[in-house]
Amino acid sequence: MFRTKKITILVLAAVLAFSLALTGCTLPVAPSTGGPTGTGTTSPTGGNEPEVELKMYVVGNRQEPDTPKVLEKLNPILKEKINATLDLNVFAWGDDYDQKTNTALAAGEPIDIVFTANWAANYNVNSTSGYFTELNAYLDKYPAIKEILGEDFLNGSAINGKNYGVPTNKEKVHNWGFLLKKDLVDKYAMDVSTIKSIEALEPFLKTIKDNEPEITPLCIATMDAPFQLLDWDRISDDDVPGALYSDNRGTTIINHFLAPESIEHYRLMREWYNKGYIHSDAATMQNQLELMKSGKYFAASQSLKPGKDAEVIASTGIEWVQVDVTPPVMSNRETTGALLAIPAGSKNPERAFRFIELLYTDAEVKNLINYGIEGIHYNKQADGRIEIIDPANSPYNPGHGWKFGDQFKDYLMSNEDPQKWEKFLAYNDQGLVLDSLGFVFDKTNVETQVSACKNVVQAYYKQLFTGSVEVDATIAQFESELNAAGIADLISEMQRQYDAWRAAK
């Protein structure tokens, strides 16, 4: 017995030592974020550098079956330009991409380029954990990206003044509004230009309610609700309380779920619900788009941009009219909505950066990755627009356009507005730049409050957004539960960080 005990202790000690040694493996990775200062001697033309393979992780629908064919075509081009080849890996939305990427990053695997955002392979968390290489020195050395993106936008994606990722050049602002079912708009000759606020929609809903017994006037599911049209400039996730007004009117962070405007809005929704404008099962619905496809709904709130109606028409098979309601603003939503980063584990960060640069400067490279090979995956028309061959069964149709590089270099599809990019640029110029642009909230100090408040919000927001419950009783309860969840600490921590950030700026 005594001997067994001894052996047990020995083995336990060995196991402990071994696991410590293993976890230790991650440590040497972190400090290698020094930038290109050490590699400054290498020639920018890439002539003398050895050939490398760049491993890239991107989020998407699936690994397209024809990826090897496309890479076969792409790699000679890359070899000539930067003496590198690409290994492109696509993982599915949500858990699949997050799990694979985050684990690989934490283990310090030699990946060279990863897609990251505020909603995938969390940009803020991974940057502050030191898993991404700091890119400022590269951005200075290869200035093309800076010129294309503009300082404002690039700074918006920086964390404490350091860039850990480069955002896609696409729509840089957002606004909110409604999509209305076109056949009904035409039938009742509705003048949609009068809809400049949420309330202004009411007469139209009434028309539908009175005349179309088969149609539900307003479609709501989860966060896809008219509440979004209040356009709070949220500090953290959509379901975490804490926001600023999106017209730069102040610097005080408030609990936007219980702000006077929001409560007023809940009352309006309650009124609409009682009038039968909102479907009675709205609070339990999961997917607004699926509902819209059924053709049984008249209006739906949406995040908009030029040509959004055409996009939703393509995906629902139903004609919609786009009604812009809120003014466009440039917020953190856009600046960290889609970025490319270079993991700290990468052995060739400079080459990886030059590949990223090609995605901004080289239309051939960008379009090859985005649409595949001309003649096999798409046909080019005389006007330069393209048509994807058999889009539903295409062996290469990954829809990468908005995920990296300069989207304005992408070919337009034949069903798209030939002026699409011009309209995008004009739209971008209209946007109001929010004061909070570039502020990143660090949850670490109030982790428990954040998740507690999140739970409370998850339990209440659907009923309030859809008007399914009496407003006064519910918000009283909502408020007391939020207080118990520690919302005061959360808001004051947000305020403290925001004030500190503003002072530093």
Binding site: G94, E311, S315, G399
Partner: protein, 307 residues
């Protein structure tokens, strides 16, 4: 005379009253319905016309019969069939290897004559309470034993299971009496011969039970491919399904804050197609049940006596 009466009486004493009998039956009928109804619904949905689903929702009887969903599955090309093949290979190889290793570990622990059995029992028990954490675990299979992106990564991590091992040990201990082993020894059998020719055939019920657990474990697993497999040719069927459902759920939840998310959802397989994948993924495993059932009850009850 007296004794037969006693037996009769005690039999009567064991019998439940008719009311209780009905109650118990009703309870289990309800439990069965709760289990079977969703499966029937999935089958029904997979045979319902897509447009019908959007407009009228789910029904146990398809309002408009359609096999289009299966069309999608069959024409979706080799992805699904390859995944199917991977699942079958992994399950077969994994179950056999896993059974072998579990038995080889459990058997010595069941023998009184094994000196270090307490230590090795503790060694296994320890892993049930403490784990190394995800990242170190990940590094073991990517750096120490680089089997990431091979078919082995879906087999090796589940080969040994301390809990199954303990059930098996108890099973050995209670089924195979020490005197049987002794007599085998007297007849000149070595340890291996005793184990493979005498002990294992006696323990068929236990093997079947643990075998079924392993089969289910391997067949239903999507976690290992989620963490380790980056080569899409190695995805198994459960993972394929998980990936699709999870993507749709994620995109629909609005967590993905990019303006194209609606377009992406539209490209996903339809509701019917998802259900069709679910139906075919139940396929082979449903046939495993009757095969194991013969031994299952016995194996479970005996295995439940632990210690």
């Amino acid at each position: 005379m007296e004794s037969t009466e006693k037996i009769k009486k005690s039999r009567l004493g064991n019998r439940v009253s008719p009311m209780t009998n009905i109650g118990i039956n009703a309870l289990f009928i309800m439990a069965s319905v709760v289990c079977i109804a969703p499966i029937l619904l999935i089958v029904a949905i997979s045979f319902t016309d897509e447009k019908e689903l959007l407009v009228n929702g789910y029904h146990f009887l398809p309002q408009k019969f359609s096999v289009k969903a299966y069309d999608y599955v069959i024409t979706a090309g080799d992805t699904i069939w390859r995944a199917y093949g991977i699942s079958i290979v992994v399950t077969l190889v994994g179950t056999l290897l896993s059974l072998l290793i579990i038995c080889l570990y459990a058997y010595p622990l069941s023998r009184q004559s094994f000196r270090y059995k307490n230590f090795f029992a503790f060694f296994a028990y320890f892993t049930m309470i403490f784990g190394g954490g995800l990242v170190p675990w990940y590094m073991v299979y990517t750096q120490l034993v680089p089997i990431k992106n091979t078919i082995w990564i879906m087999i090796v991590p589940y080969l040994m299971n301390a809990w199954y091992m303990m059930i098996m040990r108890t099973f050995f201990r209670t089924t195979v009496h020490e005197s049987i082993i002794e007599s085998a020894k007297i007849d000149g059998a070595g340890e291996f011969r005793t184990f493979f020719v005498i002990v294992l055939p006696l323990c068929r019920a236990g093997l079947a039970t643990i075998g079924l657990f392993c089969t289910l474990g391997y067949w239903n697993d999507w976690w290992l491919p989620l963490v380790f497999v980056t080569d899409n040719k190695l995805y198994n069927i459960q993972y394929l399904m998980y990936q699709t459902l999870n993507s749709i759920q994620y995109l629909a939840s609005g967590s993905a804050q990019f303006s194209e998310s609606s377009k992406v959802i539209a490209d996903m397989p339809s509701e019917g197609a998802r259900m069709a994948i679910a139906v075919i993924s139940i396929g082979p495993i449903i046939f495993a049940y009757p095969f194991f059932q013969k031994y299952f009850v016995k194996g479970l009850t005996i295995g439940a006596v632990k210690g």
